[in-house]
Symmetry: C2
Subunit: 452 residues, 2 copies
Amino acid sequence: MSQHTKILLEESEIPTHWYNVIADMPNPPSPYLAPDGTQVPADAMMAIFAPDLVEQEFSTQRWIEIPTEIREIYRLWRPSPLFRAQRLETILGTPAKIYYKYEGVSPSGSHKSNSAIAQAYYNKIAGITRLTTETGAGQWGSALSLAGSMFGLTVRVYMVKVSYDQKPFRRSMMQTWGAEVLPSPTTLTESGRTILANDPHSPGSLGIAISEAVEEAASRKDTNYTLGSVLNHVLLHQTVIGLETRKQLEKVGDYPDIIFAPCGGGSNVGGMMFPFLADKAAGKQIRLVAVEPTSCPTLTRGRYAYDYGDSMGLTPLMNMYTLGHDFMPPGIHAGGLRYHGDSALVSQLYHEGILEAQAVAQLATFKAGIQFAKAEGIIPAPESNHAICAAIDEALRCKETGEAKTILFTLSGHGHFDMSAYDKYLNNELDDLIYPEAALQASLSNLPIVSS
Amino acid sequence: MSQHTKILLEESEIPTHWYNVIADMPNPPSPYLAPDGTQVPADAMMAIFAPDLVEQEFSTQRWIEIPTEIREIYRLWRPSPLFRAQRLETILGTPAKIYYKYEGVSPSGSHKSNSAIAQAYYNKIAGITRLTTETGAGQWGSALSLAGSMFGLTVRVYMVKVSYDQKPFRRSMMQTWGAEVLPSPTTLTESGRTILANDPHSPGSLGIAISEAVEEAASRKDTNYTLGSVLNHVLLHQTVIGLETRKQLEKVGDYPDIIFAPCGGGSNVGGMMFPFLADKAAGKQIRLVAVEPTSCPTLTRGRYAYDYGDSMGLTPLMNMYTLGHDFMPPGIHAGGLRYHGDSALVSQLYHEGILEAQAVAQLATFKAGIQFAKAEGIIPAPESNHAICAAIDEALRCKETGEAKTILFTLSGHGHFDMSAYDKYLNNELDDLIYPEAALQASLSNLPIVSS
């Protein structure tokens, strides 16, 4: 075995610029709209986001420089390793080569830190001292708590109450980094009080937690709000993943035929795939496949339409694939993929046929994740198992056809805080949790009407 | 900031040989004895250990080649990174340089995998198909489960019942890699049945679990027993830690003035420090400090005497620092350091003044661990916090004296499966858990008498 198992880069090879896909999209991105059809101005976003982040949200510049202060923190775990899954290939008996980019090496355990560090930095230099956010499964809340401790910012995380109770270790992780974690709904915000007045025992939801975090940020000058996916600037920050991967593959003289990434709000898809898009436009044969859960099939079953980003209808309207903002996805364990909508950029590129999508069912993802863990050691996050499942299926197709394809996927995080899900799977207590078709049709028929 | 944050090595720089400290010790190691004072022959160990491991246990050869098959698996996470803790140095305001070798990058999350992979391999080539072991906190059980899945061996882990119930996620981790995990005491062994007959609700202990695992291995030809620390061959395998660290420091032109490692059974101490011992013998100024809990102060308060390795008195007698084999350490959260004895090699080198030791209290270790996490990101295992605490104290002494020392410590694992301990600390529910002096004196007065 003379090849590398891990392909590493030097710290000096951490990208100096993020790649902004907007510069290379065939069509400009759809604007954010108010319900009356007017465009939402950048200024309106300044109330809760740092100016540099709002500028990035609307920038058409191809390369955006990564400040030294952010690259210094990235050095704690970046460049992240690219692995050649030789043991998995042998076990599958496939002629395909399988590579995976491992983002679980960040202290918070997932790719989320790539944007959290950037968002904390830009808020810090804008004179902001406090950040709010929401978290469900806990990956984003953990990443922002870490980022807050790196830049000396106070972080308040509204954690969906049912997760707060069920995932005490994610909560302790955030608290270890100094964050304040509150079970949402709280009595601290109007949104929370309204919910609690109707249901004193509300288990909370991501939509409610977003409303609380946004409301607090909007009401305080020293405080801004942060979001872990969906928005253009978040996907921009994540492009370090794909940029590093390109360099790593070049080092071993390889290039992917097909890339898989798990897809919830789109930050993994954008982060890994956007840096490969220009090649595709230039005629390179490469397939880019977003993998989502069958229980929350935004791209594969949703409608391309203007909809709210949150379930309460507080955000601007975004042109995206959506299951309807009041679609309630079943309680699958890949909590990071339980989102009714998707990044507007990912949605548009999918709509234009540049990205592909496929949906996989929960049980198949855990089966794939365990096969991966036994071969490669790392126990993946349930979200990552979606990409693994699709990659293994592709490798097995290659075995049938004899094609020696190069398959690449993003291993977005480890599963150390998701072992209860593995436990349930191993004890045959999980199923595929299909949503009722009638509920999907109902939420799709309830999309906001945009007057124009 | 032009220096490296992480000092990395290529996979080709994974050590090709383990370093056997016995070749360079001023005196030969004390033999293992039976209670009648006769030397325990190597043959007797063959009943439960693979022949190559027994050979390593008694070898006096300085360098022992690492088989390719083991190095291939090491490549999944080795060489592990050496970090320069620049952010921590800045926060402490110390002129000292602080380096840490991070072993938490292994899939099982600690240094334990270095020996587990080797032990599984040697058993595999000896025709063994099943391995047994015990686990308390779960780091060793996890490492062996991973190793079993890598070499296709069946692994049965006797997990102390109270840990089995309190640490379900460690259990799920082992099961994900395919291991069978049983709450000990079980009814499957004579040892377990004896205990249960006396106390049907026994919470178990490491001593009982060892007895069960040894008994099963002794009774089956296809099955061997494995141990995660204490024995010479285990410490031998861990020397990859120190060997890599030497190379990494050479790359940046540095050399440690003082090294700290957490000390339970001694595998961290041996793994990091043994490769620096020859330098010390050659006159190099370097201090090597084992850090243990004040609640289980084997080196700092124990007696250097022949004692059993387990609480039931089934193992050979080893000449080591011991608190007495029936000493019951308080339930501190650094479970890996709750051992009444210590490696015979570490004990002898400490007795001869070559290694030093210091004890730190539980609360101070968590305070240090959280300070480290906020500065460097990684949340450490409670065991590792002992080394961190001592390193920070040393760095603060340097601040007072103005000495620009080079401090090195082993960050032996991450704390992702120990967040309940952090939670308790953050909620002021932990204390220092000092053992009663009378209990220590009682167990010290109950050491076995070796006739000679």
